[in-house]
Symmetry: C2
Subunit: 188 residues, 2 copies
DNA sequence: CTGAAACATTGACCTAGGTCAAAATCGGAC
DNA sequence: GTCCGATTTTGACCTAGGTCAATGTTTCAG
């Protein structure tokens, strides 16, 4: 599991061998069942995750009581409820497991110890932030310019894995449409 | 002008006096007239701006030919067409001046020279990225959960400066509604 | 295997906000 | 000042996608 994480880290930044030695002292394994909550709205997000197998997602619940999925983390990805993790402020989001999952988690103290331990780790953090920013930017552009159908088609082209992995309910909430609408889009 | 910038930088990160000495070798002053374009869609964003006086904004044009304002930079703020600046890829955004403005600009080479010059500068960059991320996150939440009217009222409470500074046309495009709708909201 | 709960589909209807067009107002160049 | 183009407002109308409710279909605990 740690080796998969190292693979991903090295893909993001060219770490020196030494910098990744002893990584297991910072990341601890965790197994979660499908449906299990890792973070509740109102709690402070303490951990950052590597998804080795399975799938996590972050979502919040709007005034009308509907789930809104913000981010899906399939296997071989990293992430967290970032805003809360960064500022150590209560999260308005939930984090749950969409499947039985194997994770590695690192808490904030360890995370910042790593980030401050070398230039490569700082660059790693910068890289993640840049990617997260670009992702959100794309999301805003899509939400404000594309119709429901166009968003669905775009996801189908760009990220077919999500289409097959997610239930219609979650997929709809990720596309920011109602389940009924998604159902109609797929048949129409 | 440089002193205002130093004030802002010190507000974001506690720089040492020495780190900010000679800042004028990196930032060059620039004056722009109202309406002037600083970046066109398709161009690569080379500069990062400090707005000393006036107002900049970033926007793009959707398929229907309507402007969509992403970010407004009133005076005493910093920013850029970030995605393009970071990745040095062609921007889909424009940057223009909403008023006659006095700017300090730093190009990407100088920017990264600074970022790599010390830990404080790295932290500065991280700070900006974290803020930009949080801002986009908030934006997505608002766009997906609030009605047009609610978004307008929220902006009026949280950022009244923008309401008075921006024309209805720009304000509407920032709120992601049509100008006609904004006009109706304001009277209704 | 079976039954309850969660999920997905379908239909009838509604509404926020967009569109289009025309009038009213503003603001800067001369 | 005054004229022209750009904004803003108002009105009539339209539509994408939401809502609500009924009916199938999975799924998984026991």
């Amino acid at each position: 599991m740690i080796d998969n994480l190292k693979l991903l880290l090295n893909y993001l930044i060219n770490f020196d061998e030494a910098e990744l030695a002893g990584l297991e002292r910072f990341f601890s394994p965790k197994t979660v069942k499908k449906g299990q909550l890792l973070l509740r709205s109102g709690e402070v997000c303490r951990d950052f995750y590597f998804v080795n197998k399975g799938c996590l997602r972050t979502y919040f619940i709007d005034k009308a009581g509907h789930e809104k999925t913000r981010l899906v983390l399939p296997d071989f990805t990293i992430g967290s409820s970032f805003t809360s993790f960064i500022h150590q402020a209560p999260s308005f989001e939930f984090v749950d497991a969409l499947e039985d999952s194997e994770l590695l988690q690192i808490n904030r103290t360890h995370f910042y110890t790593l980030v401050n331990s070398s230039d490569h780790w700082k660059s790693f953090y910068i890289r993640i932030l840049e990617m997260a920013y670009a992702f959100q930017n794309k999301r805003i552009e899509e939400l404000t310019t594309l119709s429901a159908k166009q968003r669905y088609e775009k996801l189908r082209l760009e990220n077919p894995i999500l289409i097959q992995k997610l239930s219609n309910k979650v997929l709809a909430s990720y596309l920011d449409i109602r389940e009924e609408t998604l159902s109609r889009l797929k048949s129409g």
